[in-house]
């Protein structure tokens, strides 16, 4: 087992391993996504309060979950890269940032679209909304730093430090925003709690959540493979790969 991980950390081995499992992961992701969408859009019942507009939930909620999840993955792999100097971990951290930012953006947009029919406004300065917005800024900072540093290795390491600092701050930001909001605002329209969710809604939600996770995995593996090729473009094995028919 340990041997397997050790091997996996070598870029060359990882490149081939990821290449082999990618099609399977992609297929699984597609299947889950189709199943989730089918269940969510066609099988799940209409909500008695919100009508059909709630169905955007099947995108919104998984995207919002992923936005946090990816940040944590990014910070953890950044930390691993910094402490044990594993190149692969740095690469995963760097490759995750744009994906996480996209999920965050998606959550914001779908949330806003959902907000219009439910609350009558695109945006309120609610705690959760605000912290999601700040999360987007954190992601963008990471991406900006990474593209500003020309040396790829330095960039990856600097990015990892920033991601770590950010992850320490995420809970602080989260609670401060929550607290700010309860102090400033009276009762808000933004009560997310869905007391007891219908099973026919829960299943597609979970399906979609799983599909999103797989989607992230697929994209991060693809991006990491690209990055590896670029970084190692002068090594023998990449040359062989390129020259091979």
């Amino acid at each position: 087992m340990w041997h397997f991980f050790h091997q996996l950390a070598s870029p060359r081995y990882f490149y081939r391993f990821a290449g082999r499992i990618l099609p399977w992961l992609g297929a699984a992701c597609l299947l889950l996504m189709l199943a989730g969408l089918y269940q969510g859009l066609l099988v799940a019942p209409t909500d008695y309060q919100q009508g059909d507009s709630y169905r955007i939930m099947f995108i919104h909620v998984p995207a919002a979950w992923m936005s946090l999840f990816v940040y944590v993955v990014m910070a953890v792999s950044g930390a691993v890269g910094l402490v044990w100097r594993i190149k692969l971990a740095e690469i995963v951290a760097v490759a995750s940032a744009p994906i996480g930012a996209s999920f965050t953006f998606l959550a914001l947009v779908t949330g806003a679209i959902w907000g219009k029919p439910t609350w009558g406004t695109w945006w309120v300065w609610d705690a959760r909304l605000t912290s999601e917005l700040i999360l987007l800024f954190l992601y963008l900072g990471v991406i900006a730093l990474n593209s500003a540093i020309e040396d790829k290795r330095t960039a990856a390491r600097a990015t990892s430090v920033l991601a770590l600092v950010g992850v320490v701050n995420i809970p602080i930001i989260h609670y401060s925003v929550e607290w700010w909001n309860t102090l400033h605002q009276g009762a808000t329209v933004t009560k997310f709690d869905v007391p007891s969710i219908d099973l026919r809604m829960l299943i597609p939600l979970l399906l979609m959540a799983l599909a999103f996770k797989l989607f992230y995995l697929v994209v991060v593996l693809m991006r990491a493979r690209c990055e590896i090729l670029q970084r190692e473009r002068n090594t023998g094995w990449v040359r062989e790969l390129v020259e091979a028919p």
Binding site: F137, G141, L145, T154, A158, V161, V165, N169, S176
Partner: protein, 227 residues
Amino acid sequence: MSSAQLNRAFVVLLKRDLTLAFRRRSEMVNPLLFFVLVTTLFPLGVGADPALLRSIGPGIIWVAALLAALLSLESVLRSDFEDGSLEQLMLSAHPLSVLMLAKVLAHWLVTGLPLLLVAPLLGLLLGLSGDAIVTLVQTLALGTPVLSLVGTIGVALTVGLRKGGMILSLLVLPLYIPVLIFAADAVTSTGAGLPVTAQLSLLSALLVLALSLTPAATAAALKISLA
């Protein structure tokens, strides 16, 4: 290295930075002027209604303080980087994190402390009550060191880049948000006659946290940027 030597290194560096700041006095007032200028822009932008100004005053002053801290931050490390002194600090026998703490302290004494002194004036201009002004100064005293500490990580990450300025803001501003929230809220609450111990203790907690965690992060970031 003995801890007496470490202490001495800390003091030497602190004194060095303060001397340097003093020799360039005219640049010292810049963050202060910026702070005042930005604060005065708002009444021009939102209109002069006193009640309105009073209610947004704390937020405005704090946002201006944030921006002033941000813009003065570059100077913490930039000139040391350019003349090669930063390499020398890295190669000193002492932990880089402690040396960075000395530099941050110097930066705060030169740019943060003056904000405390001029803030009451701005508070008066925006019609804050006496109590609110006291809280304003308290929050600045607790909050601006956090800004300096956290911001220095960002500077350390970007010190080798040509166009540091704008990227620095992107990295650092989101991290400043908790300070902004607690501090501005404390001042507003005082204005409304509410107790503010909670906010002040939260700010103190942030300060302690920043003091204990950021120097190491800054040192790590610097080692990466200089390599």
